[in-house]
């Protein structure tokens, strides 16, 4: 093939690639705005609750103490948290449970002693669901979605 022809084809492909990139930009923005508006709706209500559990003879027993599950639920020893954890192993800002992209995520906020999900220490954000048990130190909470 002659050079001008190759150049012409490459020009067309490169222009198409530019358009595809532009399209992808708009698509991502549109998705992002859709998610944002869902999240705004979600922020207005309580989605469930966190039940404080007590471990008796290796079994979890629910206590009457429950906390509302908000779209951003913070856990920690600090009194401003949605779930104030009274535990000597808890950091001030220990962990968060957040609704992101339609799913519930548990994240450790670089706490000193770590956060466990169903007994396994998490090292990155994980998806949580109904019935999961979140543990901070010796405090355990069961997630109950509505």
């Amino acid at each position: 093939m002659s050079t001008p022809l190759v150049f012409f084809i490459l020009r067309i492909v490169s222009a198409l690639a530019l358009l595809v990139f532009l399209g992808a930009l708009f698509w991502v923005m549109w998705r992002d705005f859709a998610t944002a508006s869902e999240e705004i709706d979600a922020n207005r209500r309580v989605h469930g609750r966190l039940v404080h559990l007590q471990q008796i003879d290796g079994r979890y027993v629910a206590t009457p103490e429950t906390f509302p599950l908000l779209s951003l639920t913070s856990l920690g020893r600090g009194p401003s948290n949605v779930v104030p954890v009274e535990d000597s192993f808890a950091s001030t800002d220990h962990a968060v449970i957040a609704l992101r992209g339609g799913r519930w995520w548990l994240e450790d906020r670089q706490s000193t002693n770590g956060t466990s999900l169903n007994g396994i220490v998490i090292d990155q954000p994980v998806i949580v669901t109904d019935g999961d048990i979140v543990s901070i130190g010796q405090s355990h909470y069961r997630l109950e979605l509505e």
């Binding site: 050079t3 190759v6 150049f7 012409f8 490459l10 020009r11 492909v13 490169s14 222009a15 690639a17 530019l18 358009l19 595809v20 990139f21 532009l22 992808a24 930009l25 991502v28 923005m29 998705r31 992002d32 998610t35 951003l72 913070s74 401003s80 800002d93 992101r100 992209g101 994240e107 990155q124 954000p125």
Partner: protein
């Protein structure tokens, strides 16, 4: 969709465009046939993406890929226009991505910036003063504005750093005065108590010093940028509508005064009003730029197909004209959309953080820097407004500018993953 997924899609599509553009340049280009910028871009994009995904999982998904796309496009344009500078620009791209990562890696950075704002600003002003004494111009021309500090063959423009420092200073200062600015009725019974000299004084002093030093150096583009961003930020913090009107009048007044005082302003305004009187001489640059736009049409001449080389120093302030000639309206729109995305995502971050004034104002100020600077230079190159010599963010040749813009994007990324309302 997770931010990381969206980011990956955008980076891949951006990379596809850059790859085909490099290929076209190899086939057609009379100069600049090098794979290196593309390879460096891919490495930077992949490492940056992986690192961001680990450290900021809930960041804004558009900022990083758009900044990388513009940065990579810029390097390829430099490679096509002035291959001699492309190697340097490629290195600056690496430095830029490292600077962006540093903004995210430093713990409690935003709080530290607020706590040390006076120190930072004095440091910035000291750098600027050093430029007055030791300043050089990399082109080595006699009489050219000496806005750079040189170490061997590395040149650095302190005003690029100062603009970020100034925005940090203004954001933290205005956030501190926020209750006063927003108070409708103060204990003393005076409305507009936010305008008392006690509140305005330190801010006007610091900002005035910066602008005076810039005017002293004849860096009028950056002085204009500071002035506009300052006014807009003050307007956002206080909500006084008359600030905008008053500011516009002040700019007009400053323009008239500067027209009488500075030759360069007189020249810029004369050729803005009518470039055709002196099209071969003093207005040569702007006239050639207009020809480039006309030549580009809708689809452009293709990379390497046009002759933007007729525009003097096209790789720096006039890179917009090179895009118009070689990528046409399509390229111009894509570029403007990309910059608009950086600005609107920044402002969206600011709106999201509206319960934390410092972070909100910081995000506003940083996005305004990019937005106003882009408007000044794209408007200037198109002869819509008098030309002010500022760089086109991400695309123009210039290390300090590229690194400064990556620092801004790094800070915006960090702000975008801050939580909505918890103590800073």
């Amino acid at each position: 969709m997770l931010p990381a997924q969206a980011e990956r899609i955008l980076l891949v599509f951006g990379g596809v465009f850059l790859t085909f553009t490099t290929l076209a340049l190899m086939v057609r280009g009379t100069q600049g046939r090098d794979w290196l910028p593309l390879l460096v871009w891919i490495v930077c994009a992949v490492t940056g993406h992986v690192w961001l995904s680990r450290s900021l999982p809930w960041r804004d998904p558009l900022l990083f890929p758009v900044a990388m796309f513009l940065g990579g496009w810029g390097v390829i344009i430099i490679e096509r226009l002035t291959p001699f500078f492309a190697e340097r620009q490629t290195i600056w791209l690496i430095v830029g991505v490292l600077a962006l990562s540093a903004m995210i890696a430093v713990p409690q950075l935003l709080r530290k910036l607020r706590d040390y704002r006076y120190t930072l600003l004095l440091f910035g002003l000291a750098l600027l003063l050093a430029t007055i004494i030791f300043g050089t111009n990399p082109s080595g021309q006699v009489g050219a504005p000496q806005l750079w500090l040189g170490f061997n063959s590395i040149f650095f423009q302190p005003s690029e750093v100062l603009k970020i420092i100034l925005v940090v200073f203004l954001a933290s200062y205005l956030a501190e005065q926020y209750p006063m600015l927003r108070a409708l009725q103060t204990p003393t019974g005076r409305r507009n108590a936010g305008l008392s000299p006690r509140i305005l004084g330190p801010m006007l002093l610091m900002w005035g010093l910066s602008v005076i030093v810039l005017i002293w150096q004849r860096d009028l583009g950056t002085a204009t940028l500071f002035f506009i961003v300052f006014l807009l930020l003050f307007y956002v913090a206080s909500g006084f509508t008359w600030l905008l009107l008053g500011g516009a009048l002040l700019i007009a007044a400053a323009g008239v005064v500067a027209y009488a005082l500075f030759d360069v302003v007189q020249l810029r305004i004369d050729i803005w009003l009518n470039p055709w009187l002196d099209a071969d001489n003093r207005a040569f640059q702007i006239v050639q730029s207009l020809f480039a736009f006309a030549q580009g049409g809708v689809f452009g001449q293709g990379i390497g197909g046009g002759s933007p080389g007729y525009i003097p120093v096209v790789h720096s302030d006039f890179v917009f004209a090179a895009i118009a000639e070689e990528w046409g309206l399509l390229g111009v729109i894509t570029m403007l959309v990309c910059i608009a995305i950086v600005v609107t995502r920044g402002l969206r971050t600011a709106a999201r953080l509206n319960r934390r004034p410092y972070l909100s104002l910081l995000a506003t100020g940083l996005s305004l820097l990019i937005g106003v600077q882009s408007l000044l230079i794209t408007g200037g190159v198109l002869k819509l407004i008098p030309l002010t010599g500022v760089t086109l963010p991400f695309l123009s040749y210039g290390g300090s500018s590229l690194v400064a813009n990556f620092i801004i994007v790094g800070l915006l990324l960090r702000l975008s993953s801050e939580e909505i309302d918890r103590g800073a």
